[in-house]
């Protein structure tokens, strides 16, 4: 008995540490999970928390301490609306406008607006416009208008007295809330608005996205203007393009130097200047000069300055704004004190330990380092050492290490000389995975060891349950390594000589916060409109399979047509006919006669190279993206190809992000919208299964996908929510304990 008591006490004692940090999370999760799975209103158990729909301003740390409106949903306060300035009585209030303009509006006045993307009525309260009512359909003249209901009501209700009818008409005598005889116009509170969803389209047009369009069958002459070529050559000039420039922080009297990287598609010589057309500019706060592509700026006075840099090819200009923060220098600069605030040391973060193979370029990334005062713009802010030997400087450093373990030290120094250090291990050893190939870019957590073909007769299709995912998601292929090298060049600020690559690279730099995120966004964007590695939509796959709706011409059905110019005459084969219509397969890189293209899921190296196909359909684009992203090291849980109803696309959880981002690059679609779900398909609703080189894996729940949070999941979708939740809870528990112990 004593032993039992001791054992119990020991177990409780052991669990108490973990319980201390997880009880609240557990309870929150439980409540959340319960309400999600049962749809039950927890209010019935705890009726006094809040009343459904009520609003209030944020308290404490809610909304990250930014002003916002909280709303009661399912008996819990949730973030409802962020306020640009402040929140008062559960409403966002615009102080500035109120202060500047004595009377913005008349008390009680109503107007229409868009609230969180939906039409709504705004009311004037205390000389400020506040959200008053959300409209289900549309808003007109300060009132919600329900088109459908009104139509029905007009049929069943007592007719409006004649004198009212006369008043309630639009200019073409259409009654309020009725369709005009001139389709697609709808009479909304006296205004005729286009609404083809309700009123339809005139003959010859069809309604798409509430717009009447003329669908054509044959090409037509769009007209246009003609100019003599001579003397109008400048019309053909393409303006230069400037790469993004990071925000700079410096002290008064301090000088910083930075490069302005620009490219011109016409290869015209470029001239750099400021917006005063001079190579030197002096403002109240800063003095800057530019020589060729190198700019120097010196702080003159405390403040925030925006300097416009102009790059001209002598015909057209491109401009980029550089934000420069100038911090005050104290008369007698004391160590640790600057700009009137207590200067704190920067925080060095060299990331996690890195495992690589001999000959691989190892990227040392200090992106996660930070300084609360922003003093990280001086040269040599980031210095990398190996056993007291300086390896180099810069936020990112590319190095090749010998076999063995290397302790690498990052020293981050701010403008005041305060420093912080972090250390990581770079371990160079023989490959543990992708053993049978030479690729230096591969994921550690793959089951693959060989490139395509992994084994004879291996037939993996995205929607089949057969083994062989390594033949499709070719994480071990060295043939696509040059693409990975491009992403490294882009993110380590090497100049990209190709305009398409430059555009993707600029976008990647502007929208990423770590080196790997930069690489990922570059690779994704390159599959988009820039069409750098894959071009167009491979219609021939669909035509060969006899998919009428996806084949541009009936005459192409059951043939290897239409082909992009680089595939014409290359012997691509289609043996399908209506009676014998199997799915195709890629069997050989050298003899196209062995390949069948009918709806074939091609290996990543085939889709990514014009030597083979260099194009594809949704599965091919998605497989190529997953492969590339896995090769740059995103874990098997963080990148996947999604199988959906008649479609395929991708999910990625970028470094530092809490949730997954959905993207779809099919046929060079512009399918990556940071912080949003792309348009053109019901992406959130239709997720069925997820795959990568490890085969079929659990898809994340909609709650964990940016923009899908409030969308109901497809029945039968395997999310592994419960399993993952337990696993994630354990991981986060361990991390919390570790952090607390360190603290």
């Amino acid at each position: 008995m004593k032993k039992l008591c001791l054992f119990l006490a020991f177990i409780i004692l052991l669990s108490s540490v973990s319980m201390a940090f997880s009880v609240r999370d557990f309870l929150t999760n439980f409540k959340d999970y319960y309400s999600r799975i049962s749809g039950a209103d927890i209010a019935q158990f705890n009726p006094n928390v809040c009343s459904q729909g009520s609003v209030r301003c944020n308290e404490g740390n809610e909304c990250g301490s930014s002003p916002c409106v909280m709303q009661c949903q399912n008996n819990a306060w949730v973030e409802y609306q962020y306020c640009a300035q402040s929140c008062s009585n559960g409403q966002c209030v615009n102080n500035q406008i109120n202060q500047m303009q004595f009377q913005v509006c008349t008390q009680g006045q109503l107007t229409c607006n868009t609230c969180n993307g939906s039409p709504c009525v705004m009311q004037c309260q205390n000389n400020a416009w506040v959200e008053y009512q959300y409209c289900a359909q549309s808003c007109s003249n300060g009132q919600c208008v329900n088109n459908q209901i009104n139509q029905i009501q007009f049929q069943v209700c007592t007719p409006i007295p004649e004198d009212n009818q006369i008043n309630q008409q639009c200019s073409d005598q259409t009654l309020y809330n009725q369709c005009s005889i001139n389709k697609p116009y709808f009479c909304s509170n006296g205004n005729l608005i286009e609404n083809c969803n309700t009123c339809g389209c005139p003959t010859g047009k069809e309604c798409q996205n509430n717009q009447c369009i003329i669908k054509r069958e044959e090409p037509y002459d769009p007209g246009g203007r003609e100019d003599e070529k001579e003397g109008n050559e400048k019309l053909l000039n393409i303006p230069p393009r400037i790469s993004p420039i990071e925000e700079k922080t410096l002290k008064i009297s301090q000088e910083i130097k930075f490069d302005v990287s620009a490219i011109d598609q016409n290869n015209d010589p470029l001239v750099y200047s400021f917006d005063n057309n001079e190579r030197r500019i002096i403002t109240e706060l800063v003095e800057c000069s530019i020589s060729e592509s190198t700019a120097r700026c010196k702080g003159l006075k405390e403040g925030r300055e925006m300097i416009k840099i102009i790059v001209s090819d002598k015909i057209n200009n491109a401009e980029k704004i550089v934000i420069i923060n100038i911090l005050k220098e104290l008369p007698l600069l004391k160590k640790g004190v600057a700009a009137g605030i207590g200067n704190t040391a920067p925080v060095a973060d060299a990331g996690s330990d890195i495992i690589g193979i001999p000959g691989q370029k190892i990227i040392l990334d200090a992106s996660k380092s930070y300084d609360y005062e922003g003093f990280l713009s001086v040269p040599d802010t980031y210095q990398w050492y190996k056993e007291e030997v300086l390896l180099g400087s810069g936020k990112n450093l590319e190095k090749i290490f010998n076999t063995g373990s290397h302790k690498i030290r990052l020293i981050v120094t701010d403008s005041e000389g305060l420093t912080d250090e972090d250390e990581i291990n770079v371990i160079i050893k023989e490959k543990l995975t992708c053993k049978n190939t030479k690729t230096p870019y591969y994921p550690e957590d793959t089951l693959c060891n060989s490139k395509w073909p992994v084994k004879e007769g291996d037939e993996f299709k995205i929607n089949s349950l057969t083994e062989g995912s390594c033949s499709l998601f070719e994480v071990c292929s060295e043939e696509i390594d040059s693409t990975i090298e491009d992403s490294i060049d882009c993110c380590s600020d090497k100049s990209m000589n190709n305009p398409g690559k430059t555009a993707s690279c600029n976008f990647a730099k502007e929208n990423s916060n770590t080196f790997r995120n930069c690489q990922a966004i570059y690779l994704i964007k390159s599959l988009g409109k820039e069409a750098t590695y894959m071009e167009g939509y491979f219609d021939a796959e669909m035509c060969c399979k006899g998919v009428t709706s996806l084949c541009p011409k009936e005459s192409y059905l059951y043939s290897a047509q239409p082909l992009p110019e680089w595939l014409v005459g290359r012997g691509l084969k289609c043996s399908n006919n209506p009676e014998n219509n199997p799915e195709g397969l890629w069997r050989s890189d050298t003899n196209h006669q062995l390949n069948e293209i009918a709806l074939s899921d091609t290996p990543a190296h085939v889709s990514l190279s014009k030597e083979h196909i260099g194009s594809g359909t949704c599965v091919d684009y998605s497989v190529a993206a997953t492969t590339l992203l896995r090769k740059i090291g995103f874990s098997k849980e963080d990148v996947m190809t999604v199988e959906a109803s008649n479609h395929a696309y991708n999910l990625i959880r970028f470094d530092l992000d809490r949730k997954y981002t959905l993207f779809d690059m099919t046929g060079n679609n512009e399918g990556l919208k940071p912080g949003k779900v792309p348009q053109g398909y019901e992406y959130c609703q239709n997720i069925i299964n997820c795959y990568n080189d490890n085969g079929k894996i659990d898809c994340p729940g909609n709650k964990n996908i940016i923009g899908c949070e409030n969308v109901k999941e497809n029945i039968g979708r395997k999310t592994g929510v419960v399993g993952n939740r337990i696993k994630n809870s354990l991981i986060s528990l361990f991390e919390k304990i570790k952090a607390e112990v360190l603290r």
Binding site: S66, N116, K229, L656, E670, P674
Partner: protein, 258 residues
């Protein structure tokens, strides 16, 4: 000498035809506000001395409204619907033809219009334009609406909002979109760190006291049981003795057998 002149003339003529070319470019303003209509100018330059006829194909981005020309084509790329213009046009010799179309972007952010494909109607040569990028920014209204973020609407939205974009910055705002952010790491005193372990210790002590009590009680019961066992045994012995005595008495009965 004559031959030389003829050769030079042929060479010049040949060079002329080689230099003659078709160029395709596309331009627009680099930035517009939401609900604005953007005008895209597409230019085809014909340096040849003959008129040229072309087919043009221009794929439009997903979330745009077509303004003019209204007539468009629609095709499907798997489940994605793609809108595109398909035109045919003639370009006079040594001229630049400008075709303009207008669209209205429906959402904020960066837009990209891929290469325009221009195909020579006679020899099927393909010419491609540059890729056009432009940005759609918000109309500032001093309110950070749902579709807006710090990148598409810096006037209304500060960084660090819960907008699906992780702004990894040490700016005093803990961005809830980030899994790990400097401002979220700042340790603040959490009363739960004291209350919960303290509560657990109290539970452990209570549990220990209860268990000890139960253990003690059980011991007492065991002792009682053992005492009872002895008394039962004693009782059994007494009853046995009594029965033996009674039997003996019976056996000694003088009336036995009557």
């Amino acid at each position: 000498m004559k031959k030389m002149i003829i050769f030079i003339m042929i060479a010049i003529m040949f060079a002329n035809s080689v230099l003659a070319q078709i160029e395709v470019t596309k331009d627009s303003i680099p930035e517009i506000r939401l609900n604005d209509i953007i005008e895209i100018n597409m230019r085809i330059s014909n340096s040849y001395n003959t008129e040229k006829e072309f087919f043009i194909e221009e794929i439009l981005p997903q979330d745009v409204q077509v303004i003019s020309p209204e007539e468009i084509f629609i095709k499907k790329n798997d489940a994605l619907e793609v809108k595109y213009y398909k035109w045919e046009t003639k370009v006079s010799p040594n001229s630049i033809k400008t075709i303009t179309y207008r669209i209205k972007p429906m959402s904020l952010g960066e837009y990209s219009i891929g290469s325009t494909e221009v195909i020579d109607k006679i020899d099927s040569s393909l010419y491609s334009s540059n890729i056009l990028n432009f940005r759609v920014m918000c109309v500032p209204n001093n309110k950070c609406d749902a579709e807006e973020s710090s990148s598409t609407c810096p006037e209304d939205c500060q960084t660090g909002l819960k907008d699906g974009i992780c702004d990894y910055k040490a700016d005093g705002i803990c961005d809830l979109d980030c899994d790990d952010e400097p401002d979220c790491r700042k340790s603040s005193f959490n009363i739960n760190y004291i209350i919960i372990p303290l509560g657990i210790i109290i539970i452990i002590i209570t549990l220990f006291v209860i268990l000890s009590w139960i253990f003690k009680k059980k011991q007492e019961i065991t002792q009682d049981t053992e005492g009872n066992k002895i008394s039962i045994q004693q009782n059994t012995q007494i009853s046995k003795d009594l029965s033996n005595f009674q039997n003996q008495e019976k056996n000694d009965d003088p009336l036995k057998g009557l």
